[in-house]
């Protein structure tokens, strides 16, 4: 009575189906497998949205005088900002504003660059001179003043401009070329992360009106001051949480689910019962992997649908499904490895929790790895979940080529875990 290929497949598929049904029919299983990750994704996405009434603006003033005090114009700008709807907070000059915005939530930074005051004054003087000269030209045209007066007036104004520049610390102004180069445009830089900041457009609008007001108060002339916006986000907000929460829950389902099934089956004698049938160790492992992969794909489909409909994320591509399957295999392998290495069912559960939960927090599920301490970052890059999140992120929202490196690492972990898990799984009592 030989077992043909078809019988082997039927045995594996039946066991995988049974494991899946048993898991999904459990109310707590279904809650923690499907509903909880969705709730977490929605909660995280909403939690890190801005409060509508909170319009904080962090200002980094780099325009300081020789004594380290803010220049007159930058102070005026800050006063103007404070009198608006914005809640102004200051950050020190030595902080990297880009990193500050990128790795924190609800933060937008306005940088007042060094030379802001000088540029405003120079530009203002340039505008005033232009007005005076055009007025003078009008007087000459109408023969109200002589042409020689114009030359001496221009020379006098250029001298005044140089003196102003020197007073503001512009050393090149003393050189002969200073007067020839047009003064630089005064710029403000607003750094935002649109993936985390839904209010940045409102803040930008308020800032634009303040800039216009400042221009008017200086002199009613355009192009004295310009504000640039730099968006440091690489993804949409929900796009950030979808892959990380998805990866984290596929990991916990794989590790805790698989090791939990093995521990439970050991405890209840079910594993012994299965060992007494013609089912082989390999079939048992494959059935578990099939069940976990299908579960991962179900979870991914439901989460993606909700994220697309409710949180307006983009639809992931087919390659990310392959990454999901590799991830499911990897963590099912890890679950098998833990269950195979330990005999005591209680120890299996404890060890799985001890591995899965720290890994979830250390791999960038809830915050970017870049925001963690350096030594924590080196731990993160030794964990398979980090590569799973990276691979999912890249395959979902960036490019398949970017996903390749992380996917390769994930696949490597999967091969190691599955091989060791298979080796350590005992299909006989001692």
């Amino acid at each position: 009575m030989k077992m043909d290929i078809n019988s082997h497949l039927v045995a594996v598929a039946s066991l995988a189906r049974a494991l899946l049904l048993d898991w999904l029919r459990s109310k707590t299983g279904a809650f923690f497998t499907i509903l909880f990750p969705i709730m977490l994704m929605v909660m995280l996405t909403l939690a890190f949205n801005d409060d509508l009434n909170r319009l904080d603006l962090y200002v980094q003033n780099l325009d300081l005088d020789h004594d380290g005090m803010p220049t007159e114009t930058s102070s005026s700008l800050i006063k103007l900002l404070s009198s608006s709807m914005l809640n102004i907070k200051h950050i020190p000059a030595d902080v990297d504003a880009y990193e500050y915005v990128k790795y924190s939530t609800n933060k937008r930074v306005l940088i007042i660059p060094y030379g802001f005051d000088a540029s405003i004054r120079a530009k203002s003087m340039e505008a005033r001179m232009a007005v005076m000269l055009s007025t003078l030209d009008l007087f000459i045209e109408r023969s109200w003043v002589q042409d020689g007066v114009r030359t001496s007036m221009i020379s006098g104004m250029e001298g005044l401009q140089r003196e102003l520049a020197l007073r503001n610390g512009d050393k090149t102004a003393s050189g002969g070329n200073a007067t020839n180069a047009p003064p630089a445009l005064a710029r403000l830089l607003l750094i935002v992360d649109s993936s985390k900041d839904r209010e940045y457009e409102r803040v930008e609008g308020i800032l634009a009106s303040i800039v216009a007001m400042l221009q008017q108060s200086t002199i009613d002339a355009p192009d004295i001051l310009r504000m640039e916006v730099k968006d440091v986000s690489t993804t949409e907000r929900a796009n950030y949480y979808l892959p990380s929460v998805l990866a984290a829950f596929i990991m916990t389902n794989g590790v805790l689910g698989t090791s939990g099934i093995v521990a439970d089956f050991k405890r209840r004698g079910m594993l012994k019962r299965l060992m007494s049938t013609p089912l082989s160790r390999l079939q048992w492992i494959i059935a578990n992997m099939m069940a976990q992969t299908i579960l991962a794909l179900i979870l991914a489909s439901v989460m993606v649908c909700i994220a697309v409909i409710a949180l307006n994320t983009t639809l992931p591509n087919a390659i990310s499904m392959v990454v999901l399957a590799i991830g499911a295999l990897c963590f099912t392998g890890l679950g098998m490895l833990i269950a195979g290495a330990l005999k005591d069912p209680h120890a299996i559960t404890g060890a799985s929790n001890a591995i899965a939960f720290p890994m979830m927090f250390l791999s960038g599920t809830f915050w970017p790895i870049g925001s963690m301490h350096e030594y924590m970052q080196s731990i993160a890059y030794a964990l398979p979940l980090t590569y799973f999140i990276d691979a999912l992120n890249a395959s979902m929202y960036q490019s398949s080529i970017l996903a390749l490196q992380s996917t390769s690492m994930l696949a490597l972990f999967a091969i190691v875990f599955v091989t060791l898990g298979s080796y350590l799984t005992r299909w006989k009592q001692e």
Partner: protein
Amino acid sequence: MENAIEVVNLVKSYSGKNVVDGISFNVKKGMIFALLGPNGAGKTTTIEIVECLRPLTSGSVRVLGYNVGDRRDEQEIKRRIGIMPQEFRALDKLSVRENIELFSRLYPYHSSSKDVDEVIRAFGLEEYSNVRFERLSGGIRQRLGLAIATIHDPEILFLDEPTTGLDPTSRRQVWAMIRALKDSGKTVVLTSHYMEEVEYLADEVAIMSKGRIVASGSPQDIASRYGTGRRLTIRGYSRSRLLASLANSSNTLGDTLTLSMDRLDSMLIAEIVDMAIRDGLEVQFKNPSLEDAFLRLVGRIDEDGRLIING
């Protein structure tokens, strides 16, 4: 009659200690064979070796002509045996039918839905067919365990404590099913703590103690060979001064006096019975039983009802 199972000099040791110590026995095809022994006697280890669930240390075990220990042969053995573990458990969230279907598909030429229906009917599980395992009572679970053990039409059935924890009605239902399996030509290997169950069901018995077989034969043979003969028991004997004078530590347990009728003359027996009845005491005559033989072979019961193993 051909042997279904042949065990020769089987040894299983852990850390140099033999928990199964060179036992040999045969189980003939079509019979019900019971393996008895106190906890720790080595019977579960022995059965699990025969079931290909544990490796043996030395000796040989052949099941239906296939060698235990040979990988290919073990696959053949597993296809031809059915197992019902003690306190059978299945997948909690799956129904009776789904659990039967699952196990049927783990065997080659798995059963059709018609076979599943037949098994469900044969074991009286029709009304529970769509009920999840977690909601079944102990008796129904054991019936399902038997149904699953037989779904692939095995030649040998291993039943480990099949009626433990069941009420008397359920126990008798399970007995009837085991008898029916025997009548259909199956070989049944049974382990049990219930002597009356073994006496009722088994054709052959082997009693194990400390890894060795200390007695084997039919239940009646063992009872007459190792039992205590016909006995007279009197409950509440301490209330009678004369009866109390007959008591010593070897013939009393609690307030019950047990006297071997083979050692007393019939006149004295009549007198003792008469005295006991006049004092309103409970008197019983007992024939030799497997339980007596078992107790004599493996140990004795102490005053708190615990089994004290010999030696």
